[in-house]
Structure formats: structure tokens, C-alpha cells
Symmetry: C2
């Protein structure tokens, strides 16, 4: 008899010499990253922001869409979009990054969406704060977790599910958390969660539930798949692991010069060149960015521009470089006010999460 | 001495057992396809349309952007965007497909952007027809090719270049060809060629030059890289080959049911189900679509909806299916009025172009 187990397999790690599989490529063809030259934009334009969609983009009719708030609350709510839009309106720039960013560069490689370094974007999200709504519903004093349910449906490792992720109550009540209905001044696009999504500034993307249709307050810890099984930092399959939460610090270089089509190696003419990029952390403000042009052997301080997009947005950094002809490997390393920085050795875990290893950008500076 | 040859390698075909390389994955992470569930939209929303960008998205200031028309013309022109917008305005739905769509499914696999089947989209393009402008410039009677130059710059197989593609004069003078400045009713997005691109209805994507800055009329055949070297149907590296031009017929199935995350296998409950999708051809109108549910062993006629988007837009088709529990492989085959259809065996060429082999969608229908 055909069952959902027949279409799913357990999670696995690739063999030492195993190349990218057809299934990983299939995910890469759907879920795209930011083209790195788009790091030039303070706010990432529509269609250039990274996307990770677990199942399919659901077909949600905004006119009929409602958000339910139930569980351990005094007064359950059902809210249409017009009603949500009549609540206080806030716009916030927030940098989102996929928890699996960098996964395909790990050795050995966890087999899942094969990101290199490009699973990031910085958008302006407009919506209404979540905390007042939870207070209006009268959240129970013994509440533990708040579960957010999307309209997207699928199977993962044999578990059929609507996408659901919980936040601890204290995180759900942070004033920065938004129920967003606009992105960059326009209604949400289908692929970004139209008509409503959660925005949890500072957290990896899995927390920002798209196509949001339900909020349920629990008086115990949520044991759903995406919290209890998927997004955990595990050493091996038997390790219960720690939950994936906030974004580790990362800096990306906007590749200078122009590329070769196939290798994406960068070509530069000799002479002065401003190398720049972006840096962000979900834990604390960025305090410094260092640049390497020799693949990590030596480092020099970059100038970090003042924050322009608020506390939860990436910051631009820049570094004046005047290379001689030859080959270089560029990278950047961000450090935040909590003391966290980017490692020189890969931070391996079985899901390939929160990997903020320094990027490598191959550059050829031509002879005059 | 470092030169552009050091960053480029010759084109190649993968070995018989060679899996996807890191370079192919890097291209897949940048250049994304349409998520197949988005075949539900008549007009593909922003950010879901396929993208193939040879080099980087250039940083073009629309205020300073001008289009030059020169070469074998009586009256060379320099046209700003406001001037182009004051010319007659036309909106046309056009289905664009990358010439390399399907490449990664070929055996052996040409090594380049590794598309599976998803390099397609259907948008509403608004702009001004090209032909009146060429007539205004006074195209020479002995003109042969019209070269279109973009603002994007890079290296390909050792050749440093601005992206340039030529059309034979007769094709450039087709009344349907547009200089487009809007997509889906909004200004062009950076990644789709802002502020100006060429639209050549019926031709593969390489002809629709993005970030268009120059038009040059030649009295001889254009021998630039993208016409003479890259986009040709070659049997082997020594074959001069035929140019890639119009889109071969293709139908895609919108995968029914819901997916497993990793395998993308579809899951369906038993019972009646409308299977649908899209079909298009750049040669002639679609005359029929057939559906298979057994991987091509047997075929049944689908209903093809009337054209809703004009002569150059894909058409929806549908097929009523009521499967028993079990495993199925779905596909669809389009035929056009020129008699062209989709092959059962792969149409191999060394660049992996114009491959319209029938799609395979794995479906598991669950036991009740």
C-alpha cells in the first residue's frame, strides 16, 4: 500500500566524495539565493531576496483569508486582513537569512537545500506588532510556546504536516515581532507568504512563518516536526541537539570587478578598488568587519557604515584595496557586540545549520 | 601574467558518471526557475519568472540611460527613456524560455547552467515597437543583421564582452518585437533588464537582450560570441552548427497534490483530480496536448483552453484523472500547427539547447 513513507527518506549526510545529487539540484532550481551583486542595494528588490519554500507556494485567496488566535487565551480571535490593517502599522527593515545558508560547503555535506552563501536578503516589512494582539487575546500566565501555522502543506521525513513553528512566549511577545502584509511597500508576493507572514527580527528564516493562518498558545513545549526534529543543532542522528534560533554574525563580500560566466571567478583591472559588502548578526549589533585578500592568512579592518536600516538590518562595510596583478581570495569576517564572530574552521552540525564560515571570492587582477 | 584566459575554460560535456559540479550548483543558486506550482498563474508574478544572467546584474541609472541606434542607418539616434515612453505604447503577453532549459537532464550533460525543466515564465511586457524606430533611423537596404548590446559585462570561454546578440534584419523588423520598459504593469526589475530590454516573441531567452543600451545595424553577418560561438546547435566541438532561434513546443505539468520536501515526489489522495499545466511553442500555435500517467507508455488527449494571452503566450491545458492508489509518472506532450512536437528521445546537442524532452513528475497516490 502506498503511504507517505514511500516518498520520504530519513535525513542523511553525503559520503566523503559524493557530489551534488539530482534532488539537491532540484531544490536549488526552485529556492534561489540573492545574486551577490545585489548586495549593492540597501533594500533587496523584489525577486532578488532569497527564498526557501519547504513545500509548494499555496494558493491563498486574500479576500477569504483569516488569522485565528486560539489555545491558552481568554478570548480567541479570528481576524481578517482588513481588521489587521486597521491595527497600528509599523515598517521595519529586517535581514533574513536561511538557517541552512552555507550547507553545501560543509564537509561532509548534510543533504538538503544546497546553499552556498547566498541565502540572505534585507527587506522592508510592514505590518502590525504581534504582542498587542496576544495581550488582547489574553494569553494565559502558564503559556510556554506560541505556535504559528502556515497554509503550506507537505511531507518531510515521512511526516505529513502544515508548516508549523513555535516561539517561546517571551520571544513571541518581543515588541519587534510583526504580522507583515507588505514587503518593500507593496503587498506581499505569493512566494514571500502572501497575504500574511510572521517576521521575527534577528532569527533565522524558519521562524518567519509564511502564509500565516493560525496562532495557538500552548502551556507546554511544542513538539512539532520543525521545532523538535528539523531545526536543531545536532552532532549526530542520536543527539537531541539544541534549537536553531538567532542568526550568527556574517559578512559577505560583494564580488568586485566582472565575472567569468562558468567559474564566477572575478576579473579586475589593476588600480584602486573599493571592496564592499554587508554584515549582520541576530544576536547583537555588528562592532567590526575585517577583510582578507589572501584566503584568511591576514586580516585588515574595514570601515563599517553607520546603521541606516535600524537595529535588525544589515550594515554596509567597505575597504580600499589597490592590488597588483595576480590571484587573490577575498573574504570578510564580522564580529558583534556579544563577542560572536565568524569561525575559520567550519561549525559542523548534522543539519548544516548556522554555518557562518568565512566566504571565499576568487579574484584575478589582470596584468596592465 | 594574469589574463582572462586564466579564469575561463573551454566548454565541455560531463563524463558519463559525473555528478553536478560545484560550479554548476553555483549557477543554479543564482539563476532560478519558476517553481512549478506557479504554472497556476496566467501571468507569472514578479520574482517567480525564470532568470538567466550571464554575468552580473549591472547597476544602470535610468535617469542617465540612453539607447543608441547606429551602424548602417541614414540617421543615427540617441533616445532617452522619456523619449521612448513618448512613442506608441504596446503591452504584450510573451512566454520566455531559456534555450538551455532541460540541459541538466541530458546524457551526457553539457556543463553550463543546469536547468531541469523550470526555465520559463509568462509576463506582460510593455514598451514600444522596434520596427518604426528602425524605419525612422533609415535602415540601409543592404542591412543583414541588427546587433543588440546590453550593459552587462563579463568573460565567457576566454572572451571578454558586453552581452551582444544579433537578429537577422527580417526578424528585427517583425512588428511584435518590443523595446520593453515595464513588466506586469511595473517598471522593469533590475534582474529583468531595467530600464530597457528587447522582447522577441517566440524566440528563446538569449535573444531578449536585457539592459539594452545599443542597436547597431550591420551589412554583414554578426560574428560576435553569443551568435557565432555560444548559442548554436552543434553535434560536437568541431561542428559549426545551426543558430538557436525559436522556442520548440513544450508542455509542463503543474505537479498535483503536495510534495515531499527532499524528493519533490507528489502525494495525492485517491479520487478525481484535475491535472493541468501550460503549453507553448515559438513556431506556431499549439494544436494539441497529450498527457501520460505511465511515463510515456500511453497517452490521452488533454483539453487545451482557448488562448487568453494572445499569440505569444502559453496556453492552459487540463486533463481529468481519477487514479487508484499506486505510483505514477506524469508528463505532457505539446504539438503545434507547424507539426513540431516533443520527442520521446532526448534531442542532444553539445550546448544542451532546445531540449524539449517530455517532463517526468513522480506521483504517489495514497491508499484510502
Amino acid at each position: 500500500m502506498t503511504s507517505v513513507d514511500d516518498v520520504s527518506r530519513p535525513s542523511r549526510v553525503a559520503g566523503p566524495d559524493e557530489a551534488i545529487s539530482a534532488e539537491e539540484l532540484q531544490l536549488a532550481a526552485r529556492n534561489h539565493g540573492i545574486p551577490l551583486e545585489a548586495l549593492r542595494y540597501d533594500v533587496t528588490p523584489a525577486g532578488l531576496h532569497y527564498l526557501l519554500i519547504h513545500y509548494d507556494i499555496p494558493d491563498v485567496d486574500p479576500a477569504g483569508h483569516a488569522l485565528t488566535v486560539d489555545g491558552a487565551v481568554r478570548l480567541p480571535l479570528i481576524l481578517g486582513l482588513d481588521e489587521l490593517r486597521s491595527h497600528p502599522r509599523v515598517t521595519r527593515q529586517v535581514t533574513l537569512e536561511c538557517a541552512g545558508n552555507g550547507r553545501a560547503l560543509l564537509h561532509p555535506r548534510p543533504v538538503s537545500q544546497p546553499w552556498l552563501v547566498e541565502a540572505v536578503g534585507n527587506a522592508e516589512w510592514t505590518g502590525t506588532p504581534l504582542a498587542p494582539l496576544l495581550r488582547e487575546a489574553g494569553i494565559a500566565p502558564e503559556a510556554v510556546d506560541v505556535v504559528f501555522t502556515g497554509a503550506d502543506h507537505g511531507v518531510e521525513r515521512g511526516v505529513e504536516q502544515d508548516y508549523q513553528r513555535a516561539l517561546p512566549v517571551a520571544d513571541a511577545l518581543r515588541e519587534e515581532v510583526l504580522l507583515a502584509y507588505e514587503m518593500n511597500g507593496a503587498p506581499l508576493l505569493p512566494q514571500h507568504g502572501a497575504p500574511l507572514r510572521l517576521i521575527v527580527p534577528g532569527w533565522y528564516g524558519m521562524a518567519h512563518v509564511k502564509w500565516l493562518r493560525g496562532i495557538t498558545v500552548l502551556t507546554e513545549e511544542f513538539d512539532g516536526y520543525q521545532n523538535a526534529v528539523a531545526y536543531r543543532l545536532r552532532r549526530d542522528a542520536d543527539d537531541p541537539g539544541e534549537p536553531v534560533t538567532r542568526i550568527e554574525p556574517r559578512a559577505l563580500v560583494r564580488p568586485p570587478g566582472f565575472p567569468d560566466f562558468m567559474t564566477r571567478t572575478r576579473v579586475l583591472r589593476p588600480g584602486p578598488c573599493t571592496v564592499d559588502g554587508r554584515a549582520w548578526s541576530g544576536h547583537a549589533p555588528i562592532t567590526s568587519v575585517e577583510v582578507t585578500t589572501d584566503g584568511g592568512a591576514t586580516w585588515a579592518a574595514a570601515i563599517v557604515d553607520p546603521p541606516r536600516g535600524g537595529d535588525w538590518s544589515w550594515r554596509r562595510w567597505r575597504y580600499e584595496w589597490s592590488p597588483q596583478p595576480g590571484r587573490y581570495v577575498l573574504g570578510a569576517r564580522a564580529t558583534d557586540a556579544s563577542g560572536r564572530t565568524q569561525p575559520v574552521e567550519q561549525p559542523w552540525n548534522r543539519g548544516g545549520f548556522a554555518n557562518n564560515l568565512v566566504q571565499r571570492v576568487e579574484v584575478a587582477v589582470l596584468a596592465d
